[in-house]
Amino acid sequence: MFRAFRFIVDLFTQRHGIIAFVFFLLVGLLMRQAPNVVKENIVSSVLGTVLYPAQMALSSLNAYRSIVAENEQLKQENARLRQETYYASEGLQELTRLHALVRFDDKWGYPIVTARVVGHNPGRFLTTLIINRGTHHGVKENMPVFSMNGLVGKVTKVSYAYSRVQLLVDPNLKLSVLERRTRVVGFLESVDGRTLMAMVPTHAGVKAGDTLITSGLGGIFPKGIPVGTVKSVGQADLDVMRQMNVVPFQEFSSLEEVFVMEKEPDWIIRELLDD
C-alpha cells in the first residue's frame, strides 16, 4: 500500500512536477468542458459525502462563537430585566416577531420550515449557504428561502438532513421582480456574484429608493416577497431598458436563521424543470 503510494508520488514529482501539473490541468480542463449534468453529479457526490458533514463540524465553531455572544447578551438582558418590574417588554418583542411570522405565513398560505445556517462556501464570493433542513423536514428543490427581512434565494440541492441554498447573488439565479410603486415588471440578476442588478423598462420611471418585490411570474417564488431597494439607476445597452443597482433587504453574510417556504414550483415550471 505504502509502496504504491510512494510510486505514485515519485511518478508525479518527476521532471520537476511537470507530470503532476499536466495531469491536474487536464483534470481541471475536463471538468470545465464537461456537460452541466456531469458537473452537477460531481458536485452532488462530493458535497454529499465529504463537504456537508465536514462543514457541519466547522459550523459548531461558529455556533460556539454565537453562544458566547448570546451568553454575553443574555447577561446584559438579565441585568436589565432585574431592574424592571415587569417582563412585558420581552414578551411583547417575542409576540411582535411571531405575529410578523404568522402574517408572513398567512399571506401565501404555505407551511414554513425554520432552518439554521450551518455553512457557506469557503471562497471569497458568497453564493451558496447550507441549512440544517432536508428532505426529512419536507424541504424540496426549488423551494423559496427568505428571512424576516426579505428574499434570500432558493433551495438547489437537498439531502436527508441538509440543503444547499442558492443566494440571490448567484449569477445563475435570475428572478422576475415587480416595482411596488409603478407596478412594472423587470428581472433581477447578479453578473459578478456580489452585487444585484435589475433591468426594468425605461418608460416606467423607476428611481432610486423604489422597492422591488417578487412578481410571482417565474413560477418558483410567490408574488410579494420583498427583495431589495433600488440604489441607483444607470443606463443599459438598450435604450428601452434601465439597469439599476439593487441593495437586498437581507445582508447574506450575516444570516443565521432562514425560513423555507414549502411551495413547489407551479406545474408548468415543474414540467420545464423536469425536461
Partner: protein, 165 residues
C-alpha cells in the same frame, strides 16, 4: 516520512479552510477579507516545490469549486493548480526567499490566480474591471499583510535570522 508530510499538509489545509470560514469572516473590513487558502498554497509551493504545490492547489481549488456556481466547475481548480506550480518553481531547496520576496510572490500569485479565474469563468470585461478594483486589489493587500504574519511565524527562529527581522 513522506506519509507524515502529507498528513501534516492535510491538517494545515484543514486549518486554512477552518480559518477561511470562521476567522476569515470575522476579519472582514467593508466586505474585504484575507484568503487563507491562497496563503496556504503559496507557502506549501515555496516549501515543497511545484509537484506538491500543484497537488494542493488543485485540491484546494476543487474544494472551492464545490461551492461556486456549477457552470464554473474547474475554474478554481485550474487557477490554483497553476498558482501552485508556478510558485513551486521558487522552491526553497534551490532558492532562499526572504520575507519581502515571499510577500511579493504571494501578491503576484494572488493576482495571477484571480486573473486566470476571471478568464475561465468568462465574465465580461467591465465586470472583471469592477471586481479587480473592488475585490482583487484590496483583498490582495489584506492577504499579503496576513501572509507576512504567517510566513514570519512559520519561519520561527531560523526565519528571524534568515529574514534579518
Amino acid at each position: 516520512m513522506i506519509k507524515f508530510k502529507w498528513i501534516k499538509l492535510f491538517l494545515i489545509y484543514l486549518l486554512a479552510f477552518v480559518l477561511q470560514t470562521t476567522v476569515g469572516d470575522w476579519l472582514q473590513i467593508f466586505g474585504v477579507g484575507p484568503d487563507f487558502v491562497v496563503i496556504f498554497i503559496v507557502a506549501v509551493a515555496i516549501k515543497y516545490g511545484p509537484a506538491t504545490g500543484c497537488f494542493w492547489g488543485f485540491f484546494a481549488g476543487f474544494a472551492q469549486d464545490m461551492y461556486a456556481p456549477v457552470e464554473w466547475l474547474g475554474a478554481h481548480s485550474i487557477a490554483m493548480t497553476v498558482l501552485g506550480f508556478v510558485v513551486g518553481q521558487l522552491e526553497e531547496r534551490f532558492l532562499t526567499l526572504n520575507l519581502p520576496a515571499k510577500m511579493a510572490v504571494l501578491a503576484i500569485g494572488f493576482f495571477v490566480c484571480d486573473m486566470i479565474y476571471f478568464l475561465l469563468t468568462g465574465l465580461q470585461k467591465d465586470v472583471v474591471t469592477n471586481l479587480f478594483f473592488s475585490k482583487t486589489l484590496p483583498e490582495c493587500a489584506y492577504t499579503v499583510v496576513v501572509g507576512a504574519v504567517v510566513f514570519y511565524l512559520s519561519a520561527g527562529k531560523a526565519g528571524k535570522k534568515k529574514h534579518g527581522v
